[in-house]
Amino acid sequence: MSQGASLRLHVPEPTGRPGHETDFSYLHLSRAGEVRKPPIDALPSDTGDLAYTLVRVLDDEGRAVGPWVPEADPELLRRGLRAMMKTRAFDARMLIAQRQKKISFYIQCLGEEAIATGHALALQQGDMCFPTYRQQGLLLAREDVTMVEMICELMSNERDPLKGRQLPVCYSMKRAGFFSISGNLATQFIQAVGWGMASAIKGDTRIASGWIGDGATAESDFHTALTFAHVYRAPVILNVVNNQWAISTFQAIAGGEATTFAARGVGCGIASLRVDGNDFLAVLAASRWAAQRARSNLGPTLIEWVTYRAGAHSTSDDPSRYRPADDWAHFPLGDPIPRLAQHLTAIGAWSQQEHDQTRAELEAQVNAALKEAERFGSMADGHVAGAATMFEDVYKDMPEHLKRQREQLSSEG
């Protein structure tokens, strides 16, 4: 019998805390263009290396290099850049609106705009996303969704399509392929797999796209989703947005230390990619690869999008209490908006003047949308759906006990 040292519990810590800079070398980056692109029908087991490296297209000079350069005409990329800029302008204005007490709560996606907007451009009409609360870019990238209807949800006002039942940002928009955001974490991941299974059962052509953050991958629903997606070869894209932080919980506490979230997929028999989430071209290319696999009965793909949550978790959070205040400035994958703008400028499809003009236009559009939405009131001024509506939609047809309670509310308050 050997006498070992005393046992020690390992509790992971981030490399940076307030007062000392983060050492981002834990991220294990690849050079742009360095990572191979496998054929569309690659076996999941043949994507093992891609779960540990990082698919990148844009280099530091804004050149698109390597096998993952997507076929995309400049007009599509300009559309993508505008969608990212629109998302950032929308978030910035809604944060102010929250501080002005026009809305009760807000969650921005600062620094992560490329992921949802790029992914949206790789999907087709009819596909269904099962998002978390930081994928507003899926809606803002679409031509058929207005900012006014989104803001009415944020304000819980008389035009709120959800009748004031949900916290701000928990949108639901079936016609735009956007499943109702629960507010609970991870539950939607297995539901996305179920939606994809249903599409396959019916011999449909539409695919599902599920979303989860690095923190919530620790929930059993994440592992459940991987198992079901693999077992039934479901036509689904399993997106893990690794923005390094879940409120104050560093990604190593969710299980990211010395491994990757993409590696979970390979272990489950799912083709997996780890991708630079701040590289719009890489997002577009990887999303298309996964979508094509799903649409070709080749099964699910797990994509870990490596990015950084540049802002606070929500308007109720102050990240300077748990991480260096200027962390984003040192994040090695930068800011997705200037990275794509640099590329478009280099190919002669964008300019600083156009950038400034676009930003001003978008800010004006967001302001106009907010003004328009304010016409329909807000929680602050009491212009919300009538109290009696709270009894609707609990069941399809209102049972007697709810009719009695509604009556009691109306007579007694």
């Binding site: 609970n184 539950t187 249903a198 939609d393 007697e400």
Partner: protein
């Protein structure tokens, strides 16, 4: 009409609905090729194919969570949780997701799913194969909770549940699968073929949800019950000679308040009987409803008979099970006042 056990009646309901509606699909642990541990889905995969009747991984949260996604797509999944005792990993998906999807999305998305699960004891299943967790579902707004007591109701209620656009928890008292059981475990088994409620129409029909039935008319006392306890209560009425009117709720929630209120107003006495543990059991809600609606008609305190507040034991099963003696004692107490 054909003579069916409850298992055959449930299978017939699923068969009818698979035939009528292409959007109905069935899955769960062991339900595909094998046909389920209780044989409820036997032969359905062979008849309808592997994409409509199939096996699922041992993951209740995944079975229910994927069914919610399928419901959002437009299917009507009927999923089986092998024992009600195993439903807890799926509880978050049921409570936070299925039950609230219509509400939180203001009708944009819905989850028209039916979750079948065998419940209750009397089969020497110990504490992991005997539970009656109905109150964990009746407490959740947005769910429908249903429990049949016989083959004819089982088939009609299951068809109504599958057709219903709300999520339905469908609890099957497994001790009644093969025959009515009055709690006398030491007597010979009785088969459904010897009982009129084992006569089941072969085609499509429904028993509407939110409708209770007067299982046994009577004048002395109202018994509010469901599942296995309906037969135990019937035996207690015969053995005590008390002319009990037994209401079989069938739909636990939302329920048919009118039928039970009318009966209690008529008899002036009420005993509530269920197999689940007593404290905060569904009987507590029923007792509250009865006193709210029938207080001035009551001639005696409302009685409750339930499982003891202990886990369901293995070797002491019949001391735990609320049999005819315990139910009869409650009847006599209600009549003494």
């Amino acid at each position: 009409m054909a003579s069916m056990t409850m298992i055959q009646a449930l299978r017939s309901a699923m068969d009818v609905m698979l035939e009528r509606d292409d959007n109905v699909i069935i899955y769960g642990q062991d339900v595909g090729y094998f046909g389920g541990v209780f044989r409820c889905t036997e032969g359905l995969q062979a008849k309808y194919g592997r994409s409509r009747v199939f096996d699922a991984p041992i993951n209740e949260g995944g079975i229910v969570g994927s069914a919610i996604g399928m419901g959002a797509y437009g299917l009507r999944p009927v999923v089986e949780v092998q024992f009600a005792d195993y439903v807890y990993p799926a509880y978050d998906q049921i409570v936070s997701e299925a039950a609230r999807l219509r509400y939180r999305s203001a009708g944009d998305f819905t989850a028209p799913i039916t979750i079948r699960m065998p419940c209750g004891g009397g089969i020497y299943g110990g504490q992991t194969h005997s539970q009656s967790p109905e109150v964990l579902f009746t407490h959740v707004c947005g769910l429908r909770t249903v429990m049949p007591s016989n083959p004819r109701d089982a088939k009609g209620l299951l068809i109504a549940s599958i057709e219903n656009d709300d999520p339905v928890i469908f609890l099957e008292p497994k001790r009644l699968y093969n025959g009515p059981f009055d709690g006398h475990h030491d007597r010979p088994l009785v088969s459904w073929s010897a009982h009129p409620l084992g006569e089941v129409p072969e085609g499509y029909y429904t028993v509407p949800l939110e409708s209770a039935t007067v299982f046994r008319p009577g004048a002395d006392l109202t018994v509010i019950s469901y599942g296995t306890m309906v037969f135990v209560s019937e035996a207690a009425a015969q053995e005590t000679g008390i002319d009990a009117e037994i209401i079989d709720l069938r739909s636990l929630w939302p329920l048919d308040l009118e039928t039970l209120v009318a009966s209690v107003k008529k008899t002036g006495r009420c005993v509530i009987v269920h197999e689940a543990t007593r404290t905060s059991g569904f009987g507590a809600e029923l007792a509250a409803l009865v006193q709210e609606h029938c207080f001035h008609y009551l001639e005696a305190p409302i009685g409750r008979v339930a499982g003891w507040d202990t886990p369901y034991p293995h070797a002491q099963e019949w001391a735990y099970f609320p049999g005819p003696a315990r139910v009869g004692a409650a009847f006599r107490r209600a009549m003494e006042n």
